[in-house]
């Protein structure tokens, strides 16, 4: 499992393609969504957490396809499946890889977000980190599983968001609500129920993905 993770990370470190794509897409979404709100109004401040999450989710859905598509393009998928490891471990490795790449992109994206929305930098980062990490974990869990599913369909780029977004609805709602509450100055205990929901979502979809990957990957 760690070998797969290490291999993916090394590819990523050398090419940086998923990272760059994720980052630019996230940035672009931030900018485009800023157009949607009057830059001077209070509405924009209220919309800020939503904008961040939409950027994360949007970029994530598009970026997540890469990790498995890369295996297929290089004809490595067969080899990976023939390797004497449990399919569940492949899933966990791919999920961890996606999580790390997305988290790395967040390290750049969140400060940019803070910059655009004129927020206090360290305060925002300190407050949002746990929410974003929990959200990214769940999103990587569900995204990796359904990236594998959509790999098996025609029109796979369209299929992935269609599958993931409705299922990730609790994650998106919880992420936005928790971020909004934290940015409004509430402390962590005020959003404990959202964090619990995020953690439950992570746990559920890690288990579902771990169990289901066997079925997804069979020929």
């Amino acid at each position: 499992m760690f070998a797969i993770l290490w291999k993916d990370l090394r590819i990523e470190l050398r090419t940086k393609e998923t990272f760059a794509a994720f980052l630019l897409l996230g940035l672009l979404t931030l900018v485009v969504l800023s157009f949607a709100f009057d830059p001077t109004s209070a509405l924009r401040e209220a919309a800020a957490p939503g904008v961040l999450w939409v950027a994360v989710i949007f970029a994530g859905t598009l970026g997540m396809n890469r990790s498995l598509l890369r295996e297929r393009e290089a004809d490595c998928l067969q080899g990976l499946l023939l390797a004497p490891v449990d399919r569940g471990s492949i899933y966990l490795a791919k999920t961890a890889g996606n999580l790390l790449v997305m988290a790395a992109a967040q390290v750049v994206l969140v400060p940019i977000f803070v910059f655009f929305f004129n927020l206090p930098l360290w305060l925002t980062i300190a407050r949002l980190t746990p929410v974003i990490l929990l959200g990214l974990l769940g999103f990587a869990a569900i995204g990796t599983m359904f990236a594998a599913v959509s790999l098996r369909t025609r029109a796979r780029e369209v299929m992935l968001p269609l599958l993931v977004l409705p299922l990730a609805a609790p994650l998106i709602i919880a992420g936005i609500q928790a971020s909004a509450a934290l940015m409004a100055g509430n402390d962590l205990s005020a959003v404990a129920h959202w964090l619990n929901l995020l953690a439950a979502f992570d746990a559920v979809f890690l288990v579902v993905g771990w169990l289901a990957f066997e079925y997804v990957m069979e020929e």
Binding site: V149, R154, M159, A174, Q177, H193, L197, V204, A212, Y215
Partner: protein, 230 residues
């Protein structure tokens, strides 16, 4: 086989009788609601849709699980047929809900938790059907769709909690769906039961028809494969 034949023979007349009975009760038999007036009569149809919808989506989850376990095409056919019918009844439920909400709540749509939940459900099962249509290979599509079917049911509780908390912070437009009127008249309760029964029977009937079509389709595919082999 005889039991199945008997069901096939009895289900259509029973459904039609119940539907006619429900129509009579809704439009003529039952007294109009004291507060909402005749508009409230749509409630009997609206509520009946949800019984069919949730039975159908429940069946999808069950059939998906059984398919992953047993790998029998029977479960796959059941899953697909229920998903299609569930989506049909869900759409009708949403539509009747909107028509009812317009005069009573003054808006076609609110982000009430139940409405949100239903809309998300609708999207999950629409994706389920699309996934089957776009799968590169039918058996693989069945497996993938089954995974989505199970995930959907697993997710249901989380979606439910999320939308309730989400809207719970703000005052909901309306909390009590029956507008505080309740079903005080016993005839109202009878009408509701008859209507729910009628649409549930309709669901079962359509499900059987759909399953038979699926079986015939499978048989045709088999024959075609045999002929191509010769």
């Amino acid at each position: 086989m005889t039991a199945s034949n008997l069901t096939d023979r009895l289900l259509p007349p029973a459904t039609i009788t119940a539907l006619l009975g429900a129509l009579y009760l809704i439009f003529i038999g039952v007294p109009a609601d004291a507060v909402q007036g005749p508009v409230q009569r749509i409630f009997y149809v609206h509520m009946a849709m949800w019984l069919a919808t949730f039975s159908a989506f429940g069946l999808v989850g069950l059939a998906s699980l059984l398919y992953l376990w047993r790998r029998s095409p029977r479960w796959d056919n059941l899953g697909r047929a229920s998903a299609e019918l569930g989506l049909l009844f869900c759409s009708l439920g949403l539509a009747t809900g909107c028509i009812w909400a317009r005069p009573i709540w003054g808006t076609w749509w609110t982000w009430d938790p139940r409405l949100t939940l239903t809309l998300i459900l609708w999207m999950i099962y629409a994706a389920y059907l699309l996934l089957r249509a776009l799968a590169t290979e039918p058996t693989q599509g069945a497996t993938l769709a089954a995974i989505l079917g199970v995930s959907g049911v697993v997710d249901l509780y989380l979606i439910n909690r999320a939308v309730y908390w989400w809207r719970g912070i703000h005052p909901a437009v309306i909390v009590n769906r029956e507008g505080g009127s309740g079903l005080n008249d016993p005839l109202m309760r009878v009408t509701l039961l008859v209507s729910m029964l009628a649409f549930f029977l309709l669901f079962l009937w359509l499900l059987r028809l759909r399953l038979r079509t699926a079986r015939l389709q499978d048989a045709v595919d088999d024959l075609r494969a045999q002929l191509a082999g010769v």
